[in-house]
Symmetry: C2
């Protein structure tokens, strides 16, 4: 695959839409256009030159278990070293642990090209970052000093161990046990499955974060605690020492992300260190969820971006048939695919989705910075509301758009010599892991919406209304579909509240429709902001006029083609759950 | 995978909805319920016991080129023999060539379990059937006598050679040449790609049908002729003789259908026999298109059926979480997935799609019988209109539903040890081959709709209207969404006609939306017929009441959840192609 980092889009979003260097958040003042362009340019170069060429290699070779150790694909080690050596692993980590202390937003922005270029390889980074955050938030001073510098630099990598054969979503069913040892450590015993980067040869040590049940915690999720279980127990000097009683038994053969080893892990009385409070493991997990789900939501559009670029290149190059309005290129026996309206429709659908998803993701990271760096409770509540939408909607739509990009390649898109099949196979997992999208919908409907009497969603609707009114009458026609979609959302909320009181199953039957409806409203909001910024720049004669005009057209495309889906989702929600719940299980 | 043939659904459709044994079509009088149940029961048994167990084997092993010959997966040869020996290859072939002379509808019905159980293996049959039809329609008496008995029995198999590296949809770009030889045969030279079953070890000979340009035919598709090119040239006794100058150079490594060898074929002055008229090859191809596209449209829902069955089994077996309304099974630590409304929503979406698709496919085969066995021109015109819808809509939706079935399996659906990934990877190709779905939309809008001044689509709309009025007032609420959808279709046709006259690109930008809109109306029509039949039986106290009540609920689900999509497609069509066509190609 070839990949080009969308640097102009990054710059537009950061400086013309979000106007980050004017935002009064600690650390943002430094983020002037020159600085962000320099960082993103370097991240892009690494993505294009080092990561992207390894994407197909990782897919083809996969990871394999050899004598108890997992081997990663050829070239992964060197590429990981390049990521490490460039300091890309610790951009937003604390300076006291070797990080650069930049805002979450910058960490988010540099990750996009990494994911587009090589989703599987980037997962080693993402998981390590998650382990860093967990220990940074819940660890003791000693744990922080020991683990955080190594995780910040990715000298050691991290994992998250939740799933077991009998339990996925329902963590109350966990069987892995933790028994206290005399020295204050714990003995962890159990089997974990689907552990990304559970074993590999990219780092000298692997720090497993493991959910397990310690005695006395009670039934269900209440009794769960979180433990740090290093592959090699650190010695007195903090270096990898004795091998712990943890082992990868199997590397799964998956549909995609072959470059990321998904391991079955056996803990056989392994030594673990309690992280955070005993029996409060679930709470510790939840604090990392926004970050992890934002990362997966990014995968949804970042892989679609890579697929879109490949589809665009093919549509400009491949010649079949003639334009309906007469030969576009009479010197050749056929015109390029891009003359055909149905091909353009697909490219515009993809482009208008991806650009809105990028805006939504960057804005959400911006809200996380507001929550973390300014302690703004409303920003925290808003982003908590939006995160399941970001994860579920962007990965659902991202997969659809990646499939559509593959479609443009015709039969050649189905052949593994070309990059399209891998994009589709890789993109598929983002709808499943880190909480399947149905679980995101449940989280949205059952937890996030009712929180604090629905304050966050009311704030979101108010934000949309304010945005619709913030611009002159020349934006009225543009924002009309958004106004309609936000009315549909308000109506849906009313219906769901009424259903929820009367018949919870009926409301739950509409949960995925609600998630998608909110996604469309959020994307309509993003496009309104982007188009307003583009119009302002055009009026001022600033920026690249062709680029800005493309924004107006692409935004209009989203408003006319994607936003009408909100009426469909409302209709489904209003139809209730009757047909969904009526059949006897045996009648299916 | 395990697979259960939906025999009750077949019976309901054939005898309660289509009432085939009362239809006045030659050959239909024999199709009484006992007879069709016996045939379908046997086809089902073969599918469940022989074909389904080989589905994963085919995926895992794939096909490989060894010393110039393609080897199929272990067990495929024996399964193919079982299909051959059972007479399943020739059900609707002419008795004079060894067939059983049954209607197309029965051929269609028995194929569904074959495809559900093993799509890749079934392709050998489907392609051979296509070659049989081509020679039966266009061959000389001599060609028929030589080839048809061998193709009917699948002693020899067939292929279709259209695509070349530089040409897929645009067959005018074909470079394969045919030069006349002194003995009346032709010398074929060129490279063909994506040739399904281009070489293999399942049959003693392979009959390639090859599109090539013969001298004097002019530019573009006009100069194309169709040739019979046997792998082994038949000797005087009609047995495989000398090896022809045709060779498989490569077996493609594909995303799915690994059990079907997709070959790159080299013709190096191979001996060919002209089939049909010189320079009329495209016309000969078109006569087979309805059959081939119906077969691919069936793949769309037949694979979704297999995936649905697996998802249903998992939802009944896998336990996670509790029903929102309280524990459904307090004796166990968790309830089965099927208690969760979002899981049920997905299963109902799949079920209501699959059953309508089956009805639409069987009805279309019924129309083909009317056209062929009764020479009814209106049936021929109607099915020609509907075929691109059947192919495009059913494969688009079938893929979505297969992805949804995979979603129900959570992380386990992403692991290749389980059947779900293969279903998704296999289903994907049906959207691409036999005319990519964008080409189906173009065929519908550009050729089928305007044919004879739009008579066929007017007849279709009249049919829908008649159906909506055919039932008592107790069906009014049920048919209301269909009436609305058919109004949307009528409005869309008006818009497209107006756009087409003014700006063809604008109309073409809506072609896929039109195809989907027509698909929903057709499925609404199918559900109205099925629900009316179920209600009649319930009122008469005939049949299995639980089965019939499930039909009412499933039909209602389609009407409330799927049919509202018609409003979306209309809105998109009415928005025109402005944003689709506005961007400069370089601005994508």
């Amino acid at each position: 695959m070839t990949y080009q980092t969308p640097l102009a889009d990054f710059d537009f979003l950061l400086h013309r839409v979000l106007k980050i260097s004017t935002q009064d958040i600690p650390g943002y003042a430094d983020l002037d256009p020159g600085f962000t362009a320099a960082i993103l340019g370097e991240a892009g170069k690494l993505s294009e030159q080092v990561l992207a060429p390894l994407n197909a290699v990782g897919d083809r070779e996969g990871c394999r278990l050899e004598n108890g150790v997992v081997r990663t694909p050829a070239g992964f080690r060197a590429a990981f070293d390049a990521l490490r050596d460039g300091g890309w692993t610790a951009l937003d980590c604390a300076p006291e642990f070797g990080g650069q202390g930049l805002p979450s937003l910058m960490h988010t922005a540099i990750n996009e090209p990494f994911v587009s270029a090589n989703m599987a390889l980037n997962m080693f980074l993402g998981l390590t970052h998650g382990a860093y955050s967990a220990i940074a938030t819940h660890g003791s001073a000693e744990q922080k000093a020991l683990f955080l510098p190594k995780l910040a630099s990715c000298q050691w990598t991290g994992t998250m161990n939740l799933t077991e054969p009998q339990c996925g979503t329902d963590l109350g069913l966990i069987r892995t046990r933790a028994e206290p040892a005399a020295d204050g450590t714990w003995r962890i015993t159990g089997t974990k499955i689907f552990i990304s980067a559970g074993d590999h040869d990219l780092a000298e040590n692997i720090i497993h974060l493991v959910l397990a049940k310690a005695p006395g915690g009670g039934e269900g999720t209440k009794g769960i605690s979180l433990f740090i279980v290093p592959k090699f127990l650190p010695d007195a000097a903090g270096n990898p020492g004795a091998l712990n009683a943890v082992q990868a038994l199997k590397v799964e053969h998956k549909m995609g992300i072959h470059g990321s080893p998904t391991c079955q892990m056996a803990y056989d009385g392994a030594t673990g260190f309690l992280l955070g409070d005993l029996h409060k493991g679930m709470r510790a997990m939840f604090t990392m969820m926004n970050e992890a789900r934002l990362g997966v939501g990014m995968q949804g559009y970042a892989v679609a971006e890579a697929a879109y670029q490949a589809a665009r290149a093919y549509a400009l190059d491949r010649r079949q048939g003639r334009a309906a309005t007469g030969a576009a290129d009479p010197t050749q026996p056929a015109d390029p695919l891009i003359v055909h309206p149905d091909i353009r429709r697909m490219l515009m659908d993809q482009k208008s989705f991806i650009e809105a998803a990028r805006a939504f993701t960057f804005w959400s990271a911006n809200l996380i910075d507001r929550a973390h760096r300014l302690g703004q409770a409303d920003a925290d509540a808003l982003v908590s509301l939006l995160i399941p939408v970001l994860k579920g909607f962007q990965t659902d739509m991202g997969f659809q758009m990646t499939v559509q990009a593959q479609q443009i390649w015709g039969g050649h898109g189905y052949i593994e010599d070309n990059p399209m099949s891998q994009f589709v196979r890789d993109a598929r997992i983002a709808m499943i892991y880190e909480g399947a999208n149905g679980v995101q919908a449940l989280d949205l409907l059952g937890r996030k919406l009712p929180a604090e009497g629905g304050r966050a969603v009311q704030a979101f609707l108010a934000l949309v209304q304010t945005e619709c009114q913030a611009h002159g009458p020349e934006m009225d026609a543009f924002t009309a579909p958004l106004k309609q979609a936000s009315k549909a959302l308000a109506a849906a909320l009313g219906t769901l509240m009424e259903q929820g009181a009367r018949d919870p199953d009926s409301a739950l039957a509409g949960s995925t429709d609600l998630l998608h409806l909110m996604g469309h409203v959020a994307f309509g909001l993003m496009w309104t902001r982007m188009v307003a910024a583009a119009q302002a720049d055009l009026a001022a004669g600033a920026g690249d006029a062709a680029f800005l005009r493309a924004k107006l057209i692409t935004g209009q495309h989203y408003m006319t083609r994607h936003l009408p889906l909100s009426a469909l989702h409302l209709a489904r929600i209003q139809s209730g759950g009757e047909t969904t719940m009526a059949l006897d299980p045996q009648a299916f």
